[in-house]
Symmetry: C2
Subunit: 336 residues, 2 copies
């Protein structure tokens, strides 16, 4: 399986490979006529630049690594869409990997990206991530990264693009209050992640503002199974609530399914608000009131910031914290 190289083109044309290289890179230091000749011969021989060799020589590969919990979550797949758009325009390739919410997977992925000499990393950390040695490694290796959505503290070098989860939690909760709910429960996620901690804070703030009692369960991982479990708990331990704010849609929807089967009327008995605006939330009945995070915009912005930092050649990092304001999407699960 012989691969055509610049040397073969050079040999065929009886010129030097360095000239071929220049021509293929469209340098202006090569005569137009020979350039044409070279391009033609390259086409003819089916030449294809060996990106590995080129990157090795240039010590960079024009590649951005993206690390997310899972591609199947709507927020993340929209973020990817935004990232790819920006990256492509700037001539970067994108490598996507999913941690599946597992810290060890996340570690391996980041190690791998470093080893592959990516130019930068966009990351939304897993639910298990508490330490950040793997990210410290990036810095050590001169690879800039930008957090989006789920971030960690302690990285003055790196930017982050997030939403105001505190505001989101506050808005969700106050919406329930405005609808007349008096006993509102909140079901949160891992508190090591700011997104969940802040949603909880926002919830508390809204309660405090309106002088209502606090009623929250221990945080879960907010999977579908967790949602079902939480619904059972509601029927057992939170029997008197009239409103519930779930920290994501997946758990909220699973809970709704269970509660409906148990004869609880939504929103009459319990009004419900989710978080993320998964496509499913529009489909379930009653449709689920939720908070939209506009993943595509966040992805775009994060990618811009990263490319900016890559361009800066990691001298002075742009460690901006861009914060978007999430939007309440009012639907039937709170329509009283």
């Amino acid at each position: 399986m012989k691969n055509v190289t610049i040397h073969e083109i050079a040999r065929a044309l009886k010129i030097d490979s360095s000239t071929v290289s220049r021509a293929l890179n469209n340098s202006d230091r090569v005569k137009e006529s020979t350039k044409k000749l070279i391009l033609k011969k390259a086409e003819e021989l089916g030449y294809r630049r060996n990106v590995l060799a080129s990157n090795l020589r240039k010590r960079k590969g024009n590649t951005i690594g993206v690390v997310i919990p899972r591609v199947s979550r709507h927020f993340f797949s929209s973020a990817i869409a935004g990232i790819e758009k920006v990256a492509q325009e700037a001539g970067f390739n994108v490598i996507i990997s999913q941690s599946l919410e597992q810290f060890d997977r996340e570690e391996r992925i980041v190690e791998n990206l470093i080893s592959n000499r990516v130019d930068g990393i966009l990351i939304s950390v897993s639910m298990e991530t508490k330490k950040a040695d793997h990210l410290a490694n990036c810095i050590k290796n001169g690879i800039p990264f930008v957090f989006f959505d789920r971030h960690l503290e302690g990285f003055p070098e790196s930017g982050r693009v997030i939403i105001d989860d505190n505001f989101g939690g506050f808005t969700a909760t106050e919406h329930l209050i405005n609808k007349g709910c008096k006993r509102i429960a909140h079901f949160s996620g891992p508190q090591d992640l700011h997104v969940y901690k802040n949603r909880l804070e926002g919830y508390k703030k809204a309660l405090a503002k309106h002088n209502l009692a606090y009623s929250s369960d221990t945080p879960s991982r907010l999977t579908e199974a967790d949602g079902t479990l939480l619904a059972k708990k509601i029927l057992k331990d939170f029997k008197d609530i009239d409103g519930a704010f779930f920290a994501n849609d997946i758990s909220a929807i699973a809970a709704m399914k269970y509660l409906k089967k148990a004869g609880i009327r939504i929103p009459e008995d319990i009004a419900i608000v989710g978080f993320s605006n998964e496509p499913m939330s529009e489909v379930i009945e009653p449709s689920l009131t939720t908070i939209d995070q506009s993943g595509e915009i966040i992805g775009k912005k994060a990618c811009e910031l990263l490319i900016d930092n890559i361009a800066k050649g990691n001298r002075v990092f742009n460690n901006e914290a861009v914060v978007f304001e999430p939007k309440l999407i009012e639907r039937d699960s709170t329509k009283k």
Copy 2:
């Protein structure tokens, strides 16, 4: 930003870099004691193998490229899960790219993968894909690929892992017939793709078997918007149908939403069957009867086949066509 190389380790230890290389590759042709020494020094210096250089030298990169229409479709994200599992065990990296159903994107992606010298490609083609020059290019460059789900004809070199869409279409349609439907419409996808053509064939076969009349619309791309459009057409041109088989869940669900608003009762007025078993199909009311494609199993099998072919060093390709039988998931949208 100095990167630690094997040479620096060698210099620090006053030995040759080739010994270092051997030690780092855990060769048994280096004394245990020096190996220990080298590993320790490597750790100490924060050495990290330059995968680019290593791959260049070895002329292969232990990487599999995956090309799919979109990550946000349940079938594809489950397929990815299966692929990653198998790939990881075999020590391969996985690069995921989405064509977004656009042929030119798909072409670019494949070109890119070839340029990056991936060891093999797993692909499920876009709805726009009719030609396959880009894949012929893979063969020409000695890169094996395996189709999964959406495949093309004319590649005797490459295997494929698919489901029996004909059977799926037949099963879906006969299910409607068994439920008492007499006038069943089918809404298909691009006929260049075998999956949709075969689902249509299966539909026809079931009708023929039961002596029922055929009633199908021109194929669409089966997006959400298409689903809404199809629902409008049903109200206008297919007013008398009592059953509908959609070639995917996304369009079926969009249609259901519209029909419900228009006062059509499901399944009483029209029974509906989708295809793919998207998570949403379980959530909508009535829950949607559909055909499950078991993405993870397909992904796994496809990846195994590919790795098999990679191992064969593209001498004799395993061009097996593995066909899985899809399963009907009966839900409320056909419960008469």
